[in-house]
């Protein structure tokens, strides 16, 4: 029977010849991602239930990132609980302060993500890893506890939606804009319970970083996962990075696999997009919203805090001054070092930005750039819900890094194409 890439991954993980959308399976988990907000409660639950083992200490990756370094006493306690446990269980891949980074940027960069595998993480944007032809989804703390202890979780096989990306990206338009357009079209629950599969010629021209921006935001359309099949770019990225060098399995959707929804996005026709408050689906072309005054610019996060994003922002900020407070957050220590080595840090400094250590920080309204009531922030993050970056009376505008940088220069929503 014809299967989608997602069904094939699950068939393997469930040890069955085939599965189809709607089936309930127990699947073996290949990797579990753990951070400082959702894992400490999972650890406590395991303790409370007298379960004192981890299924495989090599297959759990721990990176405290949300409040990193701890912002207050309570978050320090969370870090301490996580630290004590990770050491006690001898977790092989435990990234401590100095090597810890925003989880969804760090795990692929450090070579933990392998095609064909089933990956879960205690974070909704775990869907990011689908850019590597893996099934990957976010779970809560209880599921996380079960996954840590047993290496098995139940899943309902999701139906798939297919998004074909054609054309090629015009100057000033990035994969972020493609995804904001997809979410604008189908809404924040348009992909509820579904796997969002991305195919098409436009993807070929996108780097792995750019592809991760797309799968990262699958959850913003309600998707269970986002997935892109392996190609040469994927292999090139993985070569030399993978921690586990054994062969991985590459799956592809059968040509006659079933999709519950199909859509085509002509990338050539897109403009830079801005998602207005308070939903990621409120995307508008910049030409319709340019000129609105901003108070802050935030460049970072698991969506757009990788080196490619900082290069784009720096190319616009070079030799200019920001008109509003601008916070640059390299997503991982490696990105941070690259930023310094490539001279981007100097550009940001000269332009008047502040550079933070790798952290989730203000992306989720944690710290390092909280908004006051009435303030507006142009941000490269993925979510603009009420109160997301601070006061419930503040506003977040989502955009690509070029739009964010151009807006920082002008102090208002600006068209990055005037700078490129």
């Amino acid at each position: 029977m014809a299967m989608t890439i997602t069904e094939k991954i699950f068939a393997r993980a469930a040890g069955k010849p085939s599965v189809q959308a709607g089936d309930l399976v127990n699947a073996k988990i290949d990797l579990v991602m753990c951070h400082d907000v959702t894992t400490p409660p999972a650890i406590s639950m395991l303790k409370a239930h007298g379960i004192d083992k981890v299924f495989d200490r090599d297959k759990i990756v721990v990176t405290p990132d949300h409040f990193q370094p701890p912002k207050d006493i309570k978050s320090a306690e969370l870090h301490k609980r996580l630290d004590t446990w990770a050491k006690e269980k001898k977790i092989t891949h435990y990234y401590k302060l100095g090597r810890a980074g925003v989880c969804h940027a760090l795990l692929p960069e450090q070579g933990h993500i392998r095609p064909g595998e089933v990956i879960v993480g205690g974070d909704s944007h775990t869907c990011t890893y689908g850019a590597f032809g893996a099934f990957s989804t976010g779970i809560g703390s209880t599921d996380l506890a079960a996954a840590i202890a047993t290496g098995i979780l139940w899943f309902k096989i999701p139906a798939s939606m297919k998004f074909t990306l054609t054309g090629s990206l015009p100057t000033g338009v990035y994969s972020k804009d493609v995804m904001l357009e997809v979410i604008r079209r189908i809404g924040t629950d348009g992909a509820l319970y579904k796997a969002m599969e991305f195919v098409g010629p436009a993807l070929k021209e996108m780097s792995m970083e750019a592809r991760m921006t797309i799968t990262n935001m699958a959850i913003e359309a309600g998707g269970k996962s986002g997935i892109i099949a392996v190609d040469d770019a994927t292999r090139a990225y993985l070569d030399g990075r993978l921690k586990d060098k054994s062969d991985y399995t590459v799956f592809e959707s059968d040509p006659d696999a079933e999709y519950v929804h199909k859509d085509t996005i002509d990338c050539s026709a897109l403009e830079p997009m801005v998602a207005l408050p308070h939903l990621p689906s409120n995307g508008q072309p910049i030409s319709l919203c340019a000129g609105l005054a901003m108070d802050q610019c935030y460049i970072g996060s698991c969506t757009n805090g990788r080196i490619e994003d900082l290069r784009v922002a720096a190319s616009i900020l070079k030799g200019k001054q920001v008109a509003i407070r601008t916070i640059v957050v390299p997503a991982t220590p490696v990105v941070w070092k690259q930023m310094v080595d490539e001279g981007l840090a100097e550009i940001f400094y000269d332009a008047g930005c502040v550079i933070s250590a790798p952290t989730c920080g203000a992306c989720l309204g944690g710290f390092m750039g909280i908004l006051a009531a009435g303030e507006k922030c142009i941000s490269t993050t993925n979510r603009n819900f009420v109160g997301r970056m601070g006061s419930p009376k503040s506003e977040v505008y989502l955009a690509n890094p070029a739009t964010a940088a151009a807006s920082a220069v002008e102090g208002k929503l600006a068209d990055c194409r005037n700078y490129l």
Partner: protein, 169 residues
């Protein structure tokens, strides 16, 4: 008797249910103090044990934070009735032993302040204010088992004790 707190809204998200500024703890009692704060600052003052939250589509969208469910449980909310739920939140509810009630047309069938009686076994809600009985689609059997066991971990433990192996189904 449970009172309905109706929010005529779709996409009530986890940041509204429990803002990230309170995620530096996982203590249910602490979280409960801020339950629904960014949607309705009065909520914790007016909610009584057993009361019901009623919303439109896509309730609980956004983050995977189970803290959202703990805040609701901590505030002693009896049930959440929504026209539809976001996936992770829905799964988290079941895993915490909290029954998410999916009810199409919920916002038309229940008004703010209505008194409700929920029969989980029978899959019906008696709206005693309006004198109506409303049927909802019950959870699948395996999910009911998890809820009845008090959540996923308790369920796994009991399955093990029964010798069924981890999570076998």
């Amino acid at each position: 008797m449970a009172k309905a707190h109706v929010y005529q809204r779709d996409h009530v998200n986890t940041d509204e249910i429990i803002p990230a500024r309170y995620l530096n703890t996982d203590d249910a009692a602490d979280l409960a103090k801020h339950c629904m704060e960014d949607l309705d600052t009065e909520f914790v003052k007016k909610v009584q044990p057993g009361d019901v939250i009623v919303c439109g589509d896509d309730f609980g969208c956004g983050s995977s934070r189970e803290h959202a469910v703990w805040a609701i449980q901590g505030a002693k909310v009896g049930a959440v009735i929504a026209q539809s739920f976001a996936r992770i939140f829905y799964r988290n509810c079941i895993n915490c032993g909290f029954y998410p009630i999916e009810l199409h047309g919920a916002l038309e069938k229940i008004n703010d302040g209505d008194e409700l009686e929920i029969d989980y076994q029978g899959g019906t809600i008696a709206n005693t204010t309006q004198g109506t009985t409303i049927a909802f689609t019950p959870l699948p059997d395996f999910a009911i088992e998890i809820v009845n066991d008090g959540g996923l971990l308790e369920h796994i433990k009991r399955q093990k004790e029964k010798g069924k192996g981890q999570n076998d189904r």
